[in-house]
């Protein structure tokens, strides 16, 4: 009961490219174009030419001349891959007044001439490929790109260095930014660090000014202690729902004087900023330079919320800025673009039991060490053992903890080598202890990095090449008593070694945020199997995603150091600024559409769209595709049991006809009809 085959009378031109000898060397192009002219007449082919370089301006003019003089309504170019020159030939057609989408580029180079040696077979295949292209192009329809306006505001999620950089770039350019941060203060991991490699300048010193700029910037609305709950809309027109958690502080009145946390009787172990090494109060700011300056009351630990009494902070607050009745607040903001800079979580070294972290007191994580060595940290910058006083005489630093390890994460965390070298230096500098670096490979691939490595070697740090098998306190001889013994195979000398040290620092790797998959879903983007967000193109488009208007920057895209994160923050900002300047954006018109009359509302398609582009209207009992959200993958088109969904650019007619063409069934329709 197939519908009567449509027999259009289009005027088709076929253009076969020699590509110098790239194609002509294997495919008999002259024969192919003659064949097309002779055998595809009934399909509407009125001219077929071959030319040395179709993509050259002369080649393009050849096509344009025919379009004008022969009144061509369709063009098929047989040359290289569409990924190379589709745009070229589409523009050529456009130039001659033919809708660019009425041009089909079929590949007889990458898919034929370059991969086959048998010239006859290759020539025959070229004919089939062109026949397919002709059969298909007849069913092409003129398409116009979709234009949507761009809202000038931008949402940036994550107030780490990448997010901060992006926010400042956009704000400085004069456009509004909403910066959402889950923690009470922006700053991210960088704020926890002591020194930064390879320059060893103080992390806080370079970060704080930027944080202050953000805090004071007229174009930036900071939404700290907040989380994005829902994202509706599409590129240019997102509506973002944000939950502002109650701080219990009237920010308009608070001066950030600090009396409240001075007076607060409740001490809480600070396992976030101080990595569990220090304490904070129940009312607190994460760190002195926090932006915004005003604190939050941690209602889990606050005595008032537990016992119903205390209110010390309220009593002593000079400006009555405490408000115990504050409630969470839900706000919605309109933005045109979104940058995700949600960063990373530290690999939990407890997962590697044989390294003893959490079991052996003097095994530290890299973040713990950053705090230890930070002059603003719990020990005032003194590198001491867990007891808080003893200075280690020997320290072992283990690289690649949880990274480059098929039991945990296969990838390299990128920063650990340089970080470990930095640790080695800091230990030396502050304690003069002997330092061992246990590494698999040392990777120093950036400006001034390897010089830093050489410097550390000169400082006398000892390097042992080999994956550490175990860290234990089980002494085998008196020399090992009271020490941590690092059991390792030194692959350079090829023997097992047991190295006793006082302190072990684990360079734990970087991991995607625990909730990265959920976040990806909220924003309709995809994450790789291990949880890092997927960029549009790994090389050529590292900050955009497959979802128009959603960008990624910093470690959310994969492990990287501070400079790289800053670069991505700036890059994402630049991309968005370009968009905002244009005021509107043209989207590829490859889209799915649902014929409402034919849709029965069976709801098969509803769950299939990863971009949430399909919505169901309960009232009319039909589904609808939002063209701006649709990415044109065509999955719903293929799935619709009623055949009610059609996909422009890759319609059933186009593909089914191309199949006929490739099988040369279109040469004689009467024959082909079953």
């Amino acid at each position: 009961m197939s519908p009567a085959e449509k027999k259009p009378q289009e005027r088709v031109g076929v253009y076969v490219c020699h590509c110098g000898t790239n194609i002509a060397g294997v495919v008999n192009v002259a024969e192919v174009s003659k064949w097309a002219a002779d055998n595809l007449v009934h399909e509407g082919v009125i001219v077929a030419r071959d030319y040395k370089f179709m993509c050259s301006s002369l080649g393009q003019e050849l096509i344009q001349k025919d379009i004008k003089e022969l009144k061509l309504t369709r063009v098929v170019v047989a040359a290289c891959s569409p990924h190379l020159h589709e745009r070229t030939f589409r523009n050529a057609c456009k130039g001659a007044g033919l809708n660019p989408y009425l041009c089909e580029l079929v590949s007889i180079r990458e898919q034929d001439a370059w991969v086959h040696t048998d010239k006859i077979a290759a020539t025959e295949k070229a004919k089939a490929i062109i026949s397919g292209g002709v059969a298909r192009v007849i069913h092409h329809v003129p398409l116009e790109p979709l234009h949507v306006p761009i809202h000038p505001a931008t949402l940036i999620v994550g107030g780490g260095i990448a997010g901060i950089q992006a926010a400042l770039e956009i704000a400085d350019a004069g456009f509004p930014v909403y910066l959402v941060e889950r923690e009470p203060s922006i700053g991210g991991h960088m704020a926890q660090f002591d020194k930064t490699f390879p320059t060893l300048d103080c992390s806080a010193c370079i970060l704080t000014p930027k944080m202050v700029d953000v805090g004071n910037h007229p174009n930036i609305t900071m939404l700290t202690y907040s989380e994005v709950q829902k994202v509706d809309g599409y590129v240019g027109n997102f509506a973002v729902t944000i939950k502002k958690r109650a701080r219990y502080i009237k920010t308009e009145d608070c001066t950030g004087c600090g009396i409240c946390w001075e007076k607060c009787p409740k001490k809480v172990i600070d396992d976030k900023f101080e990595a569990g090494l220090g304490y904070r109060k129940a009312v607190y700011t994460p760190f002195p330079q926090a932006v915004p300056k005003y604190p939050v009351i941690d209602d889990i630990n606050c005595t008032y919320y537990i016992k119903g009494t205390c209110k010390a902070c309220e009593k002593f607050c000079p400006t009555n800025a405490i408000d115990f009745n504050q409630k969470d607040e839900i706000i919605t903001v309109e933005v045109g673009n979104i940058i995700l800079a949600t960063g990373w979580d530290l690999f939990d070294a407890r997962r590697v039991p044989n390294y003893g972290y959490g079991r052996l007191a003097n095994v530290f994580s890299n973040l713990e060490f950053e705090r230890l060595s930070n002059s603003a940290g719990p020990t005032g910058g003194n590198i001491v053992l867990r007891d808080g006083k003893t200075t280690p005489k020997s320290v072992g630093i283990i690289h690649c903890v949880g990274s480059r390890d098929k039991n945990y994460n296969n990838y390299c965390s990128a920063i650990c080598c340089m970080q470990s070298l930095k640790f080695a230096h800091l230990v030396h500098e502050k304690t003069g202890a002997t330092v061992y670096n246990f590494y698999i490979d040392i990777r120093t691939p950036a400006k001034a990095y390897d010089e830093f490595y050489q410097r550390i070697i000169e400082e006398g740090t000892l390097f042992v090449r080999g994956k550490v098998a175990e860290v234990t306190d089980a002494a085998r001889n008196p020399g090992e008593e009271g020490k941590l013994i690092v059991q390792v195979e030194d692959t350079l000398v090829g023997k097992q070694r047991r190295i006793p040290v006082d302190m072990v620092i684990l360079s734990a790797g970087l991991e995607p945020r625990f909730d990265s998959k959920a976040v990806a879903k909220t924003f309709g983007i995809s994450c790789s199997a291990d949880g890092w967000f997927i960029e549009r193109h790994p090389k050529l488009d590292p900050v955009a995603t497959m979802t128009e208007g959603v960008y990624i920057a910093g470690c959310v895209q994969g492990p990287k150091d501070i400079p790289a994160s800053v670069v991505q923050g700036a890059a994402a900002a630049a991309r968005i600024l370009g968009r905002i300047q244009q005021k509107e954006i043209a989207l590829e018109p490859v889209r799915a559409t649902i014929n409402e009359e034919q849709c029965s509302g069976c709801r098969i398609c509803n769950t299939l769209c990863p971009f949430n582009a399909i919505l169901f209207h309960e009232d009319k009992m039909v589904s609808e595709v939002n063209p701006a959200l649709c990415q044109g993958c065509g999955t719903c088109v293929a799935a619709c049991p009623a055949g009610a969904i059609s996909g422009t650019g890759f319609s059933n007619e186009q593909i089914l006809s191309q199949i006929d063409g490739l099988l040369l069934l279109n040469l004689d329709k009467k024959e082909a009809m079953a």
Binding site: E110, H116, V590, Q631, T635, L663
Partner: protein, 159 residues
């Protein structure tokens, strides 16, 4: 259905469906690196393996193709997040139906190939062509096979 005389060897005709982001680019990669493979496959570009409608495969077989290749991004790496999983589910069901229709499972192949895997793409095609060559032309007489073998044991006569 191509009836090939005994004289020249049977050259299967295979229709291949590729996804715009991975396997089609893998084919480009194979070309750019001048890898050689059998000329029996004719490719169709879809935006995503998720666009693959079983109708396309049936159309190809009905039109005389001896085999059909379906290819897309590796599971987990779909350019559109998860659509290649839908392609996988369809492929599994489709193959069951084709078998009942009398078309050997060996005539359809599901191939995951990333944009970088030109070599894999080329090798798999050559391999597939040889496998199909062994199966021979699609033979409908032979393939009109019963879904469940009809056995008539004598003892069943007493109901």
């Amino acid at each position: 259905m191509t009836d090939t005389p005994e004289t020249k060897p049977f050259e299967p005709v295979i229709i291949g469906f590729t996804c715009n982001w991975c396997s089609y680019r893998a084919a480009d990669m194979a070309g750019i690196s001048r890898m050689k493979y059998a000329p029996n496959v004719r490719l169709i570009r879809l935006m995503c393996s998720g666009r693959l409608d079983p109708t396309f495969v049936f159309k190809a077989f009905a039109g005389g193709a001896d085999a059909v290749l379906v290819s897309g991004c590796h599971p987990g790496d779909c350019h559109y997040s998860t659509q290649n999983y839908k392609a996988m589910r369809r492929f599994h069901l489709m193959q069951r139906v084709l078998t009942q229709m009398g078309i050997e499972p060996g005539r359809t192949k599901l191939l995951w190939a990333s944009a970088a895997e030109g070599q894999i793409f080329a090798n798999e095609i050559t391999k597939f062509v040889e496998e199909v060559r062994l199966l021979g032309p699609l033979n409908w007489n032979k393939s009109a096979a019963p879904v469940v073998p009809v056995e008539v044991p004598a003892e069943e006569v007493q109901a």
